[in-house]
Symmetry: C2
Subunit: 342 residues, 2 copies
């Protein structure tokens, strides 16, 4: 199975604490995650990943607005000028428009950081280059599948599924999976996105909310309790041309493997009914018990990989979350081993 990764992605590597689930914590989405996944895949016998071909702006604009891309590319340098901060400082959003009040796009980068985001994630000097390289992996995997591969893997980090058309948050800056899906859709393929990250794929859902040509399915922790909270309820189904094309499977905290696999079977039946030409899998493995949302273990990830493979559809597997010590690399390798050997 071809896989893709670029060392440029390591240029996004936050070190300052941030707030998650109400507490200040060390950053979880760091360059070390990619190194661990690379080691896990090597240990499982996979070939080293290929560096992806560069992508152009038009590819990013399949999903993101030009003004957001311009902001994201220049934000750190503009913030340094505005604040006098050091090159390695992290530009962090804080202020947003007053809810419900008259508003307009602000001109100050200090305010644009809040305008174009939905949590307190920072932009670093290397964020733009790293995020664009991460997208390049997803695009390379999509192109490999379009060229005939049964499956391909993109070692995307920073991840992407929380990024909207013009906002970052949840460790995500550019929506890797959505861009891969939109690229295939633009070439007249029917596409489904299956989001297995423990957290609702709010960015992906929002991007395709009014589109019917990309079906989205997300299985995730109950939004009454889990990040990103504001969406992912079962009654969210899309609108306009997208009405009925979007599907959410919220599950309770601590859900075990059997229950999870049951929900996955329902999700896969939904995908099968849509008869997609390709399935983009947003592969978060933060469903592992180590990450505190569900209680899946190694064997469950093998079952997930096997179930996805049984779909019999070409698979573009895009890395999303997964953080637990030792289990991130183990669980990713388990899923990919099942897909590769199917």
């Amino acid at each position: 199975m071809r896989s893709f990764y670029s060392e440029v992605q390591a240029q996004h590597n936050p070190v300052e604490p941030h707030v998650f689930q109400g507490r200040a914590l060390p950053p979880a989405e760091t360059a070390a995650r990619a190194r661990r996944i690379l080691e896990g895949l090597a240990a499982a016998g996979f070939e080293p990943p290929e560096p992806p071909a560069p992508i152009d702006e038009a590819t990013l604009e399949l999903v993101h607005t030009p003004r957001y891309l311009r902001f994201l590319r220049d934000a750190h340098e503009r913030w340094r000028v505005a604040t006098g901060a050091a090159a390695d400082a992290e530009a962090r959003p804080y202020v947003r428009p007053l809810p419900g009040a008259a508003r307009r796009e602000p001109t100050s980068v200090l305010a644009q950081l809040g305008w174009y985001s939905f949590d307190d994630d920072p932009i670093l000097a290397g964020t733009w280059e790293a995020a664009a390289a991460s997208v390049a992996c997803a695009v390379a995997a999509a192109d490999a599948v379009e060229a005939g591969a049964r499956a391909a893997y993109a070692l995307c980090r920073p991840p992407g599924h929380h990024a909207g058309a013009e906002c970052f948050g949840g460790y995500c800056y550019l929506n890797n999976a959505a861009i891969a899906a939109a690229r295939l859709a633009a070439r007249s393929h029917r596409v489904a996105v299956l989001d297995l990250d423990a957290h609702h794929g709010n960015g992906t859902q929002a991007i395709f909310w009014e589109r019917g040509d990309v079906v989205t399915i997300s299985i995730h922790g109950d939004p009454d309790v889990h990040y990103p909270f504001f969406g992912g309820y079962a009654d969210e189904r899309g609108s306009g041309a997208g009405d009925g094309a979007h599907h959410n499977f919220p599950l309770p905290t601590g859900t075990d493997g059997d229950t999870y696999l049951g929900a996955l079977d329902d999700a896969l039946a939904t995908i099968a009914a849509a008869e997609p030409d390709a399935v983009v899998v947003s592969l978060g493995v933060d469903t592992d018990a180590a990450d505190g949302v569900f209680s899946l273990g190694l064997d469950d990830f093998r079952r997930i990989g096997a179930a996805i493979a049984r779909l019999g559809r070409p698979l573009v597997v895009v890395q999303e979350g997964g953080y637990g010590p030792e289990v991130l690399e183990r669980d990713v390798a388990a899923v990919l081993t099942e897909i590769a050997s199917a």
Copy 2:
């Protein structure tokens, strides 16, 4: 001149760093501010302030929604239960709805902190009691004026003018000035709010945006450069019944006393034309050069006090911002001395 303050207000006293103008800084809006103002007023010969009478929920509901008040009262305790944090920990918002996406009011307190706020200010165990006591001061001052006083002063902190009908931010939790104004308006008085804080009174403006019975005027730093950024432009004039009742005077960074007093004259002419029965003054003294927005000095604050007094209207003076070492207490005393001696 009667003045009002309660020691309960000191129960809101944040200590953790927070982000302002893009950098992590020690908290500026602390209980020490009130102590400094008390000392400054005593040194200037003012009588000690009176403790205000308690207020009831209906008074708060003149401006804030019941669900927001319920949230604000219970948030810290609910957050402690949800996170296991210590009693003296600061509950800080982080995640918000994805801009433009489908959204609903979240049930988790972790998400409600973001839903009901617009920056990264924390809620502490004592925030509710302190903010309610701060409102009580503004209400007591309004009632003193209604009973015939020419002027009264409320030593409000936490301040209020950034708080909206259902959101906190900018050090503000309950909108002291707006509640005082709404209380007078509810008793059939015509009211104007003159906001002299260096930062746009976005909460006050939003609260009265569609009302014509309370005129609002704000003089503040250019929203292209200064907090809270997203509003306060000269073309914002209100809507519906409030169309034309709201006035903004944004001024460039570093504006000096003469230019500022010129804008204040225009603002006072606007107020005179509205013929209000009372004027609520949101008295921020962060226009002092020490606070980095404008370049006013002590004599300018004397001129401000004299100009307001010349209006010849009953004045409810409500404390907002002002932080600079030694100048906060000096500038407040200067304004009030002019008003008291007019």
